[in-house]
Symmetry: C2
Subunit: 310 residues, 2 copies
């Protein structure tokens, strides 16, 4: 069964006239439906609301929302729904990302289609980080200045072709939440976080975790055709990534970092022993962040065998 | 302008009761139209007929045909047309290949769709050489023994992201055949070959070359969004590849080799200085060949800049 794990992602930052935490869950439920997803469960504290979705996650703070969706979702329509409700003047910055897909024929739109829709309302810039024939990441953001706070970092870690051992656990149809939490070593990497997770049938796992105003999210599609795991957080991922890469032993991974412009350069070096950095792309973006995209892979000494489809 | 250079390819080998050189050009013209391509020009000698197509090439020998098509062509329908005309009993072996695509949403079918159609008539095996998130190549062949002759080798060299210098020449809208022949050093690599080539408007170049029963073909789509050049031949490509890689300086290239099983292993080592072998997959196929797929890329010391889409 093919499932496109590759995510679309939107972050919308609003001005002080709108407090997104005041908005009813019913609105977020409608917004998520526009993307062809549904809310499975919710956790929250005084700073953040975290919705676990049928396809990934939605996080809401006072001044921003972050929605991540995978599969055949239509995230662009959720952005449209938000803008129709609140108008575009409340939006200080809008950042829309799409990972390169491996089954783009299954998608309702391409990144270029989505950008065309966004440009009906906004004026933005669109970039591709990485060559078309290599792992890459598309980003769109409004062509207007924005000054992120000094602690506004985002880290994304995307794994491909995880180890047989990890895949065996994750594709066991009777695997439990606890077994997956143990595999991911969540007690070690997320001390003090409140967890909300879900095991899909027959395969798949999603996790939201929050603590103060920080979030961590993980989505697993272990299907043999295209095993993929994504992690995203606003806490420092350096040590966490070490633990996760060691646990999953991916054949390759991408690491994406956003840091505020005043930092000068993205600082995490996520190259692990046995891995080669194939691609590293970095640029200052007018929306106030430096974006860094990288792709690493494990060197294999021997010729591989082909994968049998029929 | 996006153009999917990635090719589909079919080779059909027939038994002694059918001489494909006796078949009228009108039949080949109809076959090519089924794939949504047209014949631009033809050259031939006593062993081989070579048709240059609006989307790549068709070669016909007494006992085999080889069709290569790119863009949004429907090659699978040409195979169907051949089988409908001559029946499946004349077919000793059928090999169908598809390169991984970067704009699969623009295609009329996927490799899996094509295999489903083939399986209505035939019984075959389907394999993928290379990981789904890496350069890869799909192959389908009939589940029946075939013994290729000792000199039956095929070499494919596929280049991505060629040098700025080469791209400048190839995207010059008034470039001539001679200028492209010089860039490719055809006098050096194809001595004694008869050439048939075409410069497309605004961009693109196709070449068929034949000598005795040997062929060489080249197809160039230099568009900035996704520059791609493919070469295929049944002559030894070792020295030719050196010349071509030096001329085009691609950021990365794939090399695919088919050799008869009795050779034991595919022998060409096409790793050039400054390039790393990221992927190497090799396997014996029941259709009598050993297939080798490899992907090489040039190491870049510095962080790249993103590609501006808007």
């Amino acid at each position: 069964m093919i499932f496109e794990g590759s995510e679309k992602k939107a972050e919308i930052i609003v001005g002080p006239n709108l407090n997104l935490l005041d908005i009813s869950d019913d609105f977020w439920s409608q917004l998520v439906e526009k993307a062809q997803a549904t809310i499975l469960s919710t956790i929250n504290n005084e700073n953040i609301k975290a919705f676990l979705l049928s396809e990934s996650s939605l996080f809401v703070w006072k001044d921003r929302m972050l929605i991540i969706t995978c599969g055949q979702t239509t995230l662009i329509k959720a952005i449209d729904f938000f803008t129709d409700r609140f108008g575009k003047d409340v939006i200080k910055q809008l950042i829309f990302q799409r990972k390169n897909e491996y089954f783009s024929h299954m998608q309702h739109s391409t990144f270029a289609d989505d950008v065309k829709l966004l440009e009906n309302k906004f004026s933005g810039q669109a970039l591709r980080f990485g060559n078309i024939d290599d792992h890459h990441n598309f980003i769109y953001f409004l062509d207007q200045e924005y000054a992120p706070s000094a602690d506004d970092h985002t880290h994304e870690l995307l794994m491909y072709e995880i180890s047989c051992k990890a895949r065996e656990i994750l594709t066991n149809e009777s695997v439990t939440k606890d077994e997956i939490r143990q595999l991911l070593k969540l007690d070690k990497i997320l001390p003090g976080f409140e967890l909300d997770d879900f095991v899909f049938n027959p395969y798949g796992y999603s996790l939201n975790a929050i603590k103060d105003d920080n979030y961590f999210t993980c989505h697993i599609t272990p299907q043999e055709e295209c095993p993929y795991i994504s992690f995203e957080t606003d806490i420092n991922m350096k040590e966490i990534a070490d633990v996760l890469i060691e646990a999953m032993e991916p054949i390759s991974y991408d690491f994406i970092e956003f840091c505020p412009n005043q930092d000068g350069s993205c600082g995490l070096n996520l190259k692990k022993e046995d891995y080669i950095a194939k691609t590293q792309v970095e640029s200052y973006l007018k929306c106030g962040y430096i974006m860094y995209f990288s792709h690493f892979y494990k060197v294999r000494p021997n010729r591989l065998k082909p994968y049998k489809l029929l």
